[in-house]
């Protein structure tokens, strides 16, 4: 009887494969962003705990190179600072004339990258700070060069940040010079696209693209990248604008989390 029955049943391996595939589909379709937080945070806590010493060792190994780079950057910034001080003084005079209110300066929390998702299709990093430093979901993450991404999940002492290079990331952006707005998305870590910009809009190669501030997620003026190519050849209403990202996503080691964006970060759902 048993043998007869087994001839009608699929082999055990196929049954288990079907069960596991069903389980994956059920997990994918039923899990919301927050429902997977407990297991996600448990895994991240383990990763962060082990990765901290690794990150520390890597820091020591790259100290000499970083030091030389920072010296060069410092000299450059001293010169630029002198020029900006002039511009600031002029700006303050003009603001006073126009009775503008002063914007709140941004507050940053430094964080170390202790882990990276190394799958090409998705891009995220594990940071070694979390709620213990007052961080919340959706807070912007920046590097010295520009916008890097936003916090996706926040645990007590670690958090997961979604990078701009992730295929699911989008940012409302503005061309700094002409104030033309659009939406930035990533093609890969060294190429972004500025989309939804009408043909004949004023965009030139070399223009700097920054966050627009039109959504409460990112404060205005964070650098995203520089226009590297403008084309009106594509069919449709919009231009094809390529950007070179400002941040070096291949070498993210330390980042800053922006804690005051001017809006309620916790309430925002992308």
């Amino acid at each position: 009887m048993r043998r007869g029955l087994s001839t009608f049943l699929p082999p055990q391996e196929y049954t288990i494969l079907a069960l596991l595939v069903f389980l994956v589909v059920a997990l994918t379709t039923s899990s919301t962003r927050t429902s997977m937080d407990p297991p996600r945070l448990a895994v991240l806590a383990l990763v962060a705990k082990v990765s901290r010493p690794v990150a520390q060792i890597h820091e020591w190994l790259t100290l000499r190179r970083d030091n030389a780079e920072l010296r060069r950057l410092n000299a450059q910034l001293v010169l630029e600072n002198a020029r900006l001080a002039e511009a600031r003084a002029e700006n303050e005079r003009l603001r006073a004339l126009l009775a503008f209110t002063e914007q709140t300066p941004l507050r940053f929390v430094p964080a170390r990258v202790v882990g990276t998702s190394t799958q090409g299709f998705v891009n995220s990093v594990v940071l070694d700070v979390g709620r213990n430093k007052g961080l919340h979901k959706n807070m912007p993450v920046v590097s010295a060069e520009g916008l890097v991404g936003k916090l996706y999940t926040v645990g007590h002492g670690q958090s997961l940040a979604q990078l701009l290079t992730d295929r699911n990331a989008r940012v409302s952006a503005r061309v700094q010079r002409s104030r033309v707005t659009g939406i930035v998305r990533s093609v890969h870590s060294t190429l972004f696209l500025l989309e939804q910009v009408p043909k004949r809009a004023d965009v030139q190669v070399g223009d700097v693209v920054v966050t627009s501030g039109l959504t409460p997620l990112f404060p205005p003026g964070l650098k995203i990248g520089t226009v590297s190519e403008v084309s009106e050849d594509a069919p449709g209403l919009f231009m094809t604008i390529s950007l070179t990202p400002a941040a070096d996503f291949g070498r993210l080691e330390e980042v800053l989390v922006v804690c005051n964006t001017g809006g309620s970060t916790e309430a925002v759902r992308p």
Binding site: L20, L27, T118, Q119, G120, F121, L160, R167
Partner: protein
Amino acid sequence: MKYLSYVAVLVVGLLVQVALLRFATVLGVAPNVLLLATVVVGLRRGQIAGMLFGFLSGLALDLTTATLVGPSALGHTIVGFVAGLWYGYSVGLNRGASMMVLVLCSSVHEFVMAGIHALTPGAGFGFLLLRWALPGVVYTSLVGLMVFFLLPEKVWRARPVTSLRGLL
């Protein structure tokens, strides 16, 4: 006790993947050591063990990314199934043939991942295959060379287990 060793392989593999291999990326791509481990488990212990290990390792990888849970779990489960197809022959499988199994499994995995991610708006399936999948297969296979050609054969050769009962 043997299950503990698989759990240990999974945890160590995950930590290596997330914490260490970020320093070894080329063009944004890193070798997938958990996929390699899934292939070895599939070759050593068959489809069921390979699928279970693949499911858990893929799930663990998914949990370290800022996206929906599932794509890696599905990809690794299928890899465990495919690698386990060679389990019966694995006792006599030479290093070159084992490498071919790894290349096949890695290709299947990247194909599945590209297919899933092509469903979201953005770059198309062809671009994903060329930009991410192909380099991923090459890089993972290069690391696989070290496993199959430098490590002792007992690390990846088959052990006779024929059913779930035998596994448990």
